[in-house]
Amino acid sequence: MVLVFVENVSDELSQQALTFARGLGEGVHAVVIGAPESDAVGLGALGVSVAHIAQAPEAYAPAAWAQSIVELAATLSPTAVLGPGTERGNEVLAHVAAKTDLPMAASCVSVTLGEPASVLRVRWGGSLLEEAHLHGSPTLLTVAPHAVAAAGDETGDAAVDYFTPTLSDADLLVHVSERAQATTAGVSLVDADVVVSGGRGVGSAEGFSVIEELAALLGGAVGCSRAVTSAGWRPHTDQVGQTGSKISPEIYIACGISGATQHMAGCKGAKKLLAINPDGEASIFANADYAVLGDLHEVVPAISAEIRKVRGT
């Protein structure tokens, strides 16, 4: 049996982890922390036979959540414990690994259980994969986002089991004590249908005015590469990349961006990619659907002008 840590029953990545676990053909139990019973019962639709609800404080406390999973695993003896490839999924599973002194593989695309387990996992934000052996039981891993598509199952309701973990003060010490609301203005980068992004080729903070103009005309968001945030031309919140935002717009318009792996890790979810770059050898063209060869300072204003012409404004 495989035990899956469900961070949030309605979150796609938790559902993907459940789908991934079902594919292992061993039966799936789920563990949720402090979730309502109705949510737990509903996990049956994702192939869960038993949903275990840990009665622990509601505020997120990674070590306490991990301790709940460690205690449950000690009772159930699963062959594997899986989590979603989210920030909290990785954090909680890493705490489980630290508490049990077991190896843990983050961001797995596939696994073959056994002694050792064989995994294929993501490196470099998806630019490289690694085959690895995981020596230890149970197998601990997190599922890379979008390794599988979340899919339902015809199973009925999940049986619900409540348990109360024994938590120490140390387990509860690190917890979320308040949620500060974000102050956001304009179109959010991760939700935008169109993202117009500038790289080193923009040349300066002021150079972004043409990028901003085109983004505004398309009702889109402005993005940039790491070279731009490191130079201080744009805030880090605008960065698309392995260490910035991961985006999935309908079209990504990359202007003066060479296409380093660091950047591509953030925009590979885009449905279409239009690259505007004077260097026909730039690696971004290997990942682009459309290209305009030229200087963005000439091409981008021309596109904006053409849009106005078409709209008659």
């Binding site: 490289l128 979320v176 949620r179 239009l274 690696s283 063209f285 459309y290 305009v292 002008a305």
Partner: protein, 251 residues
């Protein structure tokens, strides 16, 4: 206060990754090296905290002899000293890495008030070394932090989440993993680089235990398979771009 920042030497991969013939590593013959982006912000934060609070900052790496270059780079922005856990360049798994760091920290004459890591390394992305170190040392650990402040021995750490920021309050000593965006790291100055050459590097050569997360080989993912359509050269390409946007229903 005493602050330790842990960093990892990684190649600057550029646009295309090429593997060595034995598939055990990235071909780095023509590449430069750096530290993970998150860690650059960790190093900058260590320097800022010591500038504000007084005390001493140390940078630690586990890596081949060449990783001294990264230790000097970090000292060039103002970190005072370095610890180099020297390896033969082979892969160390997260458990072995954490154990070696714990041993090095415990061997230090003065305890650390704060140990900083990047949230995850740019190359292997294991998301666990810091948590394992904290667990072994009995210290609290906050991850993915984008703002840190210290007041009366309490660290206030802010983490970006969907819809806002989660705030954690933890007592020092603590382990904190940071993300890029925490600050804008400074560039090293020429005098900074000269000073860094004279700063002390404490070297040790820990024994490498067997890997329990054992890398077998690296695999390049399949290419995008995309065939790029050239819409034009220079401003003359604009009408074709607009036609594509119309086709996609975005105008």
């Amino acid at each position: 206060m005493n602050v330790l920042v842990c960093v990892k030497r990684v190649p600057l991969t550029g646009g295309k990754i090429v593997l060595t013939t034995d598939e055990q590593a990235i071909q780095t013959r023509h590449l430069g090296f750096t530290i993970s982006p998150h860690e650059e912000c960790g190093a900058e934060e260590a320097v800022r905290l010591i500038e504000q609070q007084g005390g001493s900052s140390t940078v630690l790496t586990l890596g081949p002899p060449e990783a001294e270059e990264q230790l000097r780079d970090v000292m060039a922005i103002g970190v005072d000293r370095a610890i180099h856990l020297v390896t033969d360049g082979s892969e160390w798994d997260p458990q072995a890495t954490a154990a070696a760091i714990v041993d090095a920290v415990q061997a230090e004459p003065e305890p650390y008030d704060l140990i900083l890591f990047g949230n995850e390394s740019a190359d292997s992305g294991n998301y666990q070394v810091a948590i394992r170190v904290a667990s072994s040392l009995g210290m609290p650990c906050v991850t993915g932090v984008k703002a840190i402040s210290l007041q009366d021995g309490t660290l206030r750490c802010e983490q970006e989440v969907t819809g806002g920021r989660d705030v954690y309050l933890v007592p020092a000593p603590a382990v904190v993993t940071v993300k890029e965006g925490l600050n804008l790291p400074r560039y090293p100055s020429v005098p900074g680089r000269l000073r860094a050459k004279r700063k002390p590097v404490l070297a040790a050569t820990p024994a490498r235990p067997d890997s329990r997360l054992e890398m077998v080989r690296l695999v390049l993912p399949p290419g995008s398979g995309k065939q790029v359509e050239i819409l034009g050269r220079g401003p003359e390409g604009a009408p074709a771009v607009v036609a594509v946007l119309q086709e996609l229903g975005l105008l």
